[in-house]
């Protein structure tokens, strides 16, 4: 039932928005309708038309909300009460069939350029994902009141910006879609590599990101980058079962038991990225997905086609230059041409202020110095990386590498 409610959330919200406009009130009304359904349906059974039920209840709540707030919000009152009451109670037949575009419009609205990325993420998870404020707060380890405020401020900003529930003009559509993809990728990453907290994975967020990206691809089936993004998520998430020990400690790619990788996800991801690259135009998500595919299809680190990984990262650095791509390129370059070639590349970005001091820079340098046989230098770099990451499991893993190197007891399987 939870899945059903989550799936219906954007449709119900869209039905209200199309008629009544104001995102903040409509969204609150939908949340209340969802709560009512969660309490009602298990007792009374599923209604014949769950979506119609939700829209009807949400519309009644919307009237209540507007009335209770009438003096302060005359504008909404006119909008809602201007329509005859029968409209709120009529059988919903204008909802079916329009769900496709509505979800896209909602995604675009939630990822409005006036909002900061954390607000875009929170609003998207609530309005499109159908998560409760408490669930979103728990996923990001912030108090519920903080998250409630963030969401309410986001809705306020959207209102102030005069954003409407409509397709952006064609010249803006591309950049608005990029913003949606970026938000979905942020949600995925937050779930996959938690930046805070005791656990390394929060599969609820990765699952939600994949679900919403699938939905986006259904709405934009010809967009190679959306296809690439879904492929990237699937190919990355495929390794999740092998990525941690039962105690929650990180296992690096080279030491993972590849038999535990999710072959279904890999197959689907490979098919998607292959189709995307054929369709073009080429983009950053497709290239990263292609790299993930090379790793996922390799039987071991040694048998990985590093030359292809290097070529893909070189292309990525050209298509969308960014120091993190260069760091990844350095690892591949070291595998193809030897560690000193990778260290040279690293040196070229170390002073880039977008990445200076980032723990990954130190972790990669540690790895390359270790490859070059400089155990003590590697240990120094790993220690530095451990101090700079804000993820507890990463901290433990990196400190462990430093300790092992200092003890001269390096486990060769970790290379």
């Amino acid at each position: 039932m939870e899945d059903l409610l989550r799936r219906l959330t954007p449709q119900v919200l869209a039905a209200l928005l199309r008629r009544h406009g104001a995102l903040d009130l409509c969204e609150d009304a939908v949340q209340e309708a969802l709560a009512a359904a969660a309490a009602d349906w298990p007792v009374k059974g599923l209604p014949d038309n769950p979506q119609g039920w939700l829209v009807t209840v949400a519309r009644r709540r919307l009237v209540d909300l507007v009335r209770s707030d009438a003096a302060r919000r005359r504008r909404e009152e006119r909008i809602v009460l201007g329509a005859p009451p029968s409209e709120f109670l009529q059988h919903i037949d204008d909802v079916e069939g329009s769900g496709r575009d509505d979800t896209l419009l909602l995604l675009l609205l939630c990822c409005h350029p006036e909002l900061t990325p954390p607000s875009q993420v929170a609003l998207t998870l609530r309005a499109v994902g159908g998560l409760t404020t408490a669930e979103i707060a728990a996923a990001f380890f912030v108090p519920e009141a903080t998250m409630a405020q963030r969401i309410s401020r986001a809705k306020q900003r959207i209102r102030d910006a005069g954003a409407s529930f409509a397709m952006p003009p064609p010249e803006q559509l591309e950049s608005r879609l990029r913003a949606v993809m970026h938000v979905l990728y942020l949600v995925f990453n937050e779930g996959y590599t938690t930046n805070s907290g005791p656990d390394i994975h929060r599969p609820d967020l990765t699952r939600e990101a994949i679900r919403l990206t699938r939905e986006l691809l259904r709405l934009r089936p010809d967009d190679a980058e959306v296809e690439g993004l879904l492929a990237l998520m699937l190919l990355t998430d495929a390794r999740r079962p092998a990525r941690t020990t039962p105690q929650g400690e990180l296992i690096p790619l080279a030491a993972q038991d590849r038999a535990r990788w999710n072959q279904d996800a890999i197959r689907e991801g490979v098919d998607l990225v292959t189709a995307a690259l054929r369709r073009g135009p080429i983009g950053a998500y497709q290239l990263q997905a292609a790299v993930a595919a090379v790793h996922d299809e390799a039987p071991s680190t040694e048998e990985t086609d590093w030359a292809q990984v290097l070529a893909l990262y070189e292309t990525l650095d050209r298509v969308s230059p960014n120091p993190m791509a260069t760091v990844n390129r350095a690892v591949a370059a070291a595998m193809v041409h030897g560690p000193s070639s990778g260290l040279d590349l690293l040196a070229s970005v170390e002073t880039d202020e977008r990445i200076a001091g980032h723990h990954l820079l130190f972790a990669v340098r540690g790895h390359l110095l270790d490859m070059a046989g400089d155990a003590l230098g590697a240990a120094e770099s790993f220690s530095e990386a451990a101090r700079r990451t804000n993820s507890a499991p990463e901290k433990r893993y990196l400190a462990g590498r430093a300790r092992d190197l200092r003890a001269g007891a390096v486990d060769p399987s970790r290379h």
Binding site: P143, P198, Q247, G248, E249, R387, R388, N390, A392, R396, A399, G400, R403
Partner: protein, 120 residues
Amino acid sequence: MKYMVIIYGNKDLWASFPPEEAGRAIAEVNAFNRRYAESGELLGAYGLGDELTAKTVRVRDGVPAVTDGPYLEAKEFVSSFFFLDCEDEARALEIAAEYPFASHSAVEVWPVLHEAGTAM
């Protein structure tokens, strides 16, 4: 009554934990957090990054200057803290004593102004 409990440390202290003990310590802290979140007495628990990643902000003549590192020069730094909302100070001290790290070195319990009772 609200209390803030502060745990101090530095990288040498954390590095001195053998890896096999680290796993057990984490499990103990997680169990502690769960227990008191369920009882409603733990409002929130937060770990902080390394002091290397802390920044200090000073505004002089309206111009903010940001420097790397913590404000206080010290050998040990705040590494984590949690908030309690409990019956009285005695209860806060009782809970603090159960925090695993209290058995290794020490934890500090601070009353929150206007939110904690006066000790009799």
